[in-house]
Amino acid sequence: MYEQISKNKHLSYFLIVVMTALFIVLGFSIGIAAGIGWFGLVIAVVIAVALALTSYYKGDKIALATSHARQVTHEEVPQLFNVVEEMAIASGNPMPAVYIIDDSAPNAFATGRNPENSSLAVTQGLLDKMNREELQGVIAHEMSHVRNYDILFATLVGVMVGAIALMADFFLRWSIFGGSRRSNDNSGIFGVIMMVVALALAILAPIAARMVQLAISRKREYLADASAVELTRNPNGLANALEKIAGDTEQLEAANRATAHLYIAQPIKKFEERKRGLFDTHPPIGERIAILRAMASGGPGKAAG
């Protein structure tokens, strides 16, 4: 279990390094090919950072509002509150605000930039269909996203992907509108080659960045599973819950592409049914369950693929 956690953490950082390298390579090649025009680029990056800060500080309220979640108290749902409190105690963190989504599809998500400012939302379907230990596994997973600072992590990664996309876009427009005429520094063959390289990167980099972002997202899901077991010491609870969620074919109406990555399992059912791919925010549920079961039988489990 601890091996899972550290392997996943290291892989996530490695992927961030890859992302940064992509950013630098793209920027560098554009710089060589273009020679000018940094001002517009700086503006674009500033905007990206501003958007990121907004999503970092206000993102949880936005996510809760779009999911039509309503806040609840201990009196309304004592068992849910108790389960959340138990996980708060086990993690040594304060309680998040608790919300319910009125939908019968079983799912849950947590948002918040740190444990002191976090919220947890579960669907009515989850409360109805899970028993206490399964509910505990799901809640532990969601609270682990917050305590692993996955929201911050995802925001950072989102900024970088956005900046890469903006930079590439900016460069492509600039070269389409004949900016290369202004750049007299590069002459002859070298200039042309750099231009071709820069163009190729500008087209491919945003796609590559997105794929890295999704790979990171999948790793963090495995990490949240392992962290959940660190809290509950009960891998079967979460494994059973995931099995039930996987078997449930109902569509979660409140979810859409923008919020799908926040939920414990892919809420858009037709994405889940697709074969395993590089464009999934969540790892395949079968593999998550297998890793959890392996933890239960005492093995350390291989690093999540």
Binding site: Q79, N82, E85, E86, I89, A90, G92, E133, N234
Partner: protein, 185 residues
Amino acid sequence: MVIGVIIAIVLVVVFLGGIIMIYNRLVRQRNKVDNSWKQIDVQLKRRHDLIPNLVEVVKDYMSYEQEVLENVTKARSQAMQASGPAEAGKAENMLSGALKSLFAVAENYPDLKANQNVSQLQEELTSTENKIAFARQLYNDVVMYFNNKVQTFPSHIIAGAFGFQAREFFEVPEEEKEVVKVDLR
């Protein structure tokens, strides 16, 4: 010459800074250990507070089970009066055992289970048992982290110099091992 002096000063500052950082981390972690130990007491006390209510509600339905109810009440007062962690530990274990018997016996009384107040109280008590277990788990987790820092290089040097000592884990005695993490559904 001047460069050499500047480098020396920078190195000294970095070195001292490192020592301060390690010391502070040790202090913070030790405080976490103390805090999580107190948290266990908070949950144990919560259990003491919940029990009189439970006994009140239940005794009308379980008039033939006086002994079980009395065991719970007796165990509770013993736990509250216990002095010192060893005695308190044993008393709390006995209370857990008494409660377990009470829940087991309550299975035979469908009227009791149907009662709203009782099921709410049962949930609260189940949760309290879980919270005691998780508080102990957290205590052991932070103790492990603290002991690692006290024993591994380089922080063990600082720890030794300032008198930080490894702490003991909380051990669960054999009898109590089945009580924790009750699942009611």
